[in-house]
Amino acid sequence: MNKIIELYLYIEGILSSAKFAVVIITLFAIALVYGTFQESYHGAVFAGRLVYKSWWFMGIEALMFLSIFMATMVRLPVKKRLYGFYVIHAGLLTIFIGSFFTYVNGVDGSIQLLPNTPAKKLVINEDVLRIDFMGDNKSFKVPLPKTAFAKDLDIDVNGIQINTFLPSAELKTTWIEDPMMSTSQHSGHFQIFNDMVSQEVILSLSDKSDFKSMQKMGPLTLHYMPFLLKDCFLKKDPSGYIIWNLTNGECFTPKEKSLIVDKTDKGTNFVLLEDGKGKYIKFFPDFSPVPVLDDLSKDMNSPYRVLSKNLFKDKPNLFIFGEDIVYYKKRKKDWIGLSLKDDIAKLPWMSFKLRLIKHSNDSFPVETPSYIRPIQDSGEIVKGDLKAVQVTLGNNTYWLNSNAPLALSNGKSEIRLMLTAKEIKLPYQLTLNKFKMNKNPGTNNPASYESFVQLLDGRSTDGVTKHHVYMNNPLKYDDFTFYQASYFPIGPEQYGSVLSVNYDPGRFLKYLGCFLTVFGSIWHYIINRKRKKATA
């Protein structure tokens, strides 16, 4: 027994000592310095997860609490000259306890308000994997860990295995070899650039690829087509149509096969193609590349497709046939074909140029997320602003990321997976009546943001109440506080508003603790000064 007491007194002696305090405060300060640099390089979320909300940082905080507590305990019973000391340290302990309440029970989220649309959904900054089994109407929300690094998980949800979570990732393109690939399923990697901007594009005709065969870049549209169609595309035909066969790659113009090209009574262009069995395949090339059946529905089973080149003359359209390109030159009123094999091609729009970086007809590109630390530049996350999860269903593994939900099938029904943020439903609803932004006179810089909202709470008899939320003037309602946080444009001079929403159960304790600490330190110095005078 005596030994236990001795041991306790020994530990108490260490924990309550000024040396222990100095060590712990030093560790705490070093951790903070580390945290601020991480914050500056990798952003607030990463720094929070790496340092401020990590177990070891909480451990330092716990030791600090212990140090303050023990230092106070060993100075009991109460001595008059230590009144200030007690109050300071009691204040600090109170702040710690208040912060702990906030950490455990606090809510920190935001609510998005569109004009005149009631909203009650609070978005919390926590990652959730939502899995919807469409067949049996079951829905699961799997909370994902608040980790700074990639983390392996072992969670099974109705046969779906959740393997890995990447809290910050970027998409990496890999090319997968496939010797069985048909020749018309090639893919390409291009750089389009001028003196001002540069962008890389990957286009693919393979149905296994994550990349599409069409991409819009501002006013310009890129169409990636099988290379076999190029010669056919450049053939001159008065109709401006080309027709091709998906199965064998055969391509021809109406003139070559003497097809019937005419207009209906209402003036709609059509083409008729004899299928060899005496039946006619009907196309309306101005509306759809797919032929139509007698009831005018699309015949998706037909191997034939049509393209009306006339549709692509007005706006910037670039046709890429593997390693060759074709565009319409308005001045010459003709289609121009260029090869990318040996040279960079000049495009006729805003001195843009096109470079072929890679062309492949025996591999296809896929995008897989890979973990990177987020990178912050001038206060914004410029890289790694993507989260991803890897799941297994049956024998196949899939990636989904925060930009691209995933739809799978387990043989019975469809399963939809989505990476999203946690949501809380408020028991009342907020509606944005108006968002106002004042600007500094004569400039475009905002001087203030203001939201005029109305609140409707079914539980109360007050009916609709109106509130004015602006910087430094939040709305307090039902334990929650709503602050003007941000805004987003939804149309010309029309804005939606974002309010940050907060519930802080530790608030009172933190305020009390702060007051005690400051009051205590002043008292402490006054007592010391009096004592000094008395001894002097």
Binding site: S17, A18, K19, A21, V22, I25, T26, F28, A29, L32, V33, G35, T36, F37, E39, S40, Y41, H42, A44, A47, G48, S99, T102, D108, D195, M196, I375, Q376, D377, S378, G379, V382, N440, P441, G442, T443, N445, P446, A447, S448, Y449, M471, N472, P474, T481, Y483, A485, S500, V501, N502, D504, R507, K510, Y511, C514, T517, V518, S521, I522, Y525
Partner: protein
């Protein structure tokens, strides 16, 4: 012969009229620019400085330069006004020899698109990109002045702010008459409050304060007269209060919203606090520390123009709360001022120690003096941080968010708390205490300047090569060398 005389006559005539027109560009003319109304003199002074990097062009009054730029069609030679190009890569881009610093405005204007596209090309914010942004804004400012878009004139007819072109289209009067009437009408309808800024800028109040400080410190040291010193300190404080009051009246807010203002306020605060401490502990060293630190601040305000901009511009929305600005920020800056005093006293002690051997008792005495300043600093800093937390809670809904600025202020507090607790251990001897107090101000500098100049620029900006970071780096280096020398010296003695 006739032709030459006629030509000469024309030249003289045009010079005559031109002189007349720019005479009507009075310093007091009210203009709306950069989101607020200011006297022409202020805009002209800031513009000329920003464009040319020098306070004057052609040795003529800034308003004349500004007038001639505005009326560039009549003064085509002003298209050659040299604009400042700083970064080597920027010079390369616009085709300026590396040993030259200026490029004529019309040539640079042709490169505006090139500069723009280069900015777009640079993905990460390197010093080059930052300089390009500055250069672009310089060319843009020039273009906006000559196309009369920067400066809006008060229209007597519509009572609104319109461009110079619109003014001419609204009336048939000559420009000088219009401008004369404008000023009169504006003052009649809105008052002459804006003219205070002219008084403020032209009073050079901080130069006078600097002069008083220097005389004060010399008298205190040479004549060993506390009384003279205190009277000069009081006079300095009076001047600085006058200056700050004018600034507050012009900007309508507490003078602590940018680096320039915080430097100004901390210098003032340190002098006030030093007098306050002097009242309790009569030691000359506080007065010297207060003077010394005030002089450093005034020097920075005057000569570190690259880092501290003296111009008054509108605040971002979140800071627009005078109550919290004037409580939270002023408390923090006052605490930095008190800690600056402890830093001065500690360094003075170090130099005394290096110059002549201080006795152990004297050394202890100076430790005590330093500690007095630290105590004031700690309490003020704790109050300031808490007020910041309360403000953040009040306007953002969180008391604490581990934001770098607030975290660094906490690091400063923790550092000084380590000193306070260290005094109760055997680890912190008098010598180490003095060294730590002298070095501790580096954490203050980091929280005050470093967060903005080093941390805010992030990993990929190589922030260390820029104005603010160079200043900080130099400061850290000098202080560290002093600490090392002092540390070794004491070791030899023992």
């Amino acid at each position: 012969m006739k032709k030459t005389i006629l030509g000469l006559f024309f030249v003289i005539f045009s010079l005559q009229t031109s002189a007349n027109i720019c005479d009507s560009f009075k310093e007091e003319l009210p203009l709306q620019a950069g989101g607020r109304v200011k006297p022409l003199f202020v805009l002209a002074k800031e513009s000329v400085k920003f464009l040319t990097g020098k306070s004057k062009y052609n040795n003529e009054p800034q308003v004349v330069t500004f007038c001639k730029l505005t009326l560039i069609d009549q003064y085509p030679e002003y298209k050659n006004i040299p604009l400042l190009v700083e970064h080597i890569e920027s010079k390369e881009l616009v085709g300026l020899p590396i040993d030259e610093k200026f490029m004529s405005a019309d040539k640079l204007l042709l490169k505006k698109d090139l500069i723009r596209s280069e900015i777009m090309k640079q993905k990460q914010s390197t010093p080059f990109k930052k300089d390009l942004n500055k250069l672009y804004s310089r060319v843009d400012t020039y273009e906006k002045i000559i196309t009369k878009k920067t400066q809006m004139f008060f229209s007597t007819e519509t009572k609104t702010w319109v461009s110079l072109n619109e003014i001419s289209s609204l009336t048939n009067e000559t420009l000088p008459t219009v401008l004369k009437n404008n000023m009169k009408d504006y003052i009649e309808s809105e008052g002459d409050h804006y003219l205070l800024e002219l008084t403020y800028v032209k009073s050079h109040v901080y130069s006078w304060a600097l002069l008083l400080c220097i005389i004060g410190i010399i008298l205190t040291v040479l004549l060993k007269s506390m009384k003279l010193g205190i009277s000069f300190a009081l006079a300095t404080i009076f001047l600085e209060i006058a200056g700050m009051t004018m600034r507050i009246l012009v900007s309508g807010r507490a003078p602590v919203t940018n680096m320039y203002e915080t430097v100004m306020f901390s210098g003032f605060g340190a002098l006030v606090i030093s007098l306050g401490i002097l009242y309790i502990r009569r030691d000359k060293v506080f007065l010297l520390a207060g003077f010394g630190y005030n002089i450093l601040c005034l020097f920075m305000m005057m000569f570190a123009n690259n880092m501290l901009s003296s111009s008054i511009s509108p605040l971002v929305p979140v800071l627009r709360d005078n109550f919290w600005l004037s409580t939270h920020v002023t408390t923090i800056i006052l605490s930095y001022a008190a800690l600056a005093l402890s830093w001065m006293v500690a360094n003075i002690t170090i130099f005394k120690m290096l110059a002549k051997k201080l006795t152990k008792k004297e050394y202890r005495y100076y430790q005590d003096l330093t500690y007095t300043c630290i105590k004031v600093g700690i309490v003020l800093l704790a109050i300031g941080i808490i007020l910041g937390g309360v403000w953040a809670d009040y306007s953002w809904g969180r008391f604490w968010g581990w934001d770098p600025k607030e975290t660094w202020s906490l690091i400063v507090l923790l550092f000084y708390i380590i000193i306070v607790h260290g005094r109760y251990t055997s680890w912190l001897t008098t010598h180490r205490f003095i060294l730590m107090s002298a070095g501790g101000f580096m954490t203050v500098m980091m929280a005050w300047f470093g967060v903005n100049y080093i941390l805010a620029s992030g990993l990929h900006s190589y922030g260390f090569s820029e104005g603010g970071a160079i200043f900080l780096g130099t400061f850290f280096a000098i202080q560290t060398v002093i600490l090392i020398i002092a540390y070794k010296q004491r070791h030899k003695e023992i």
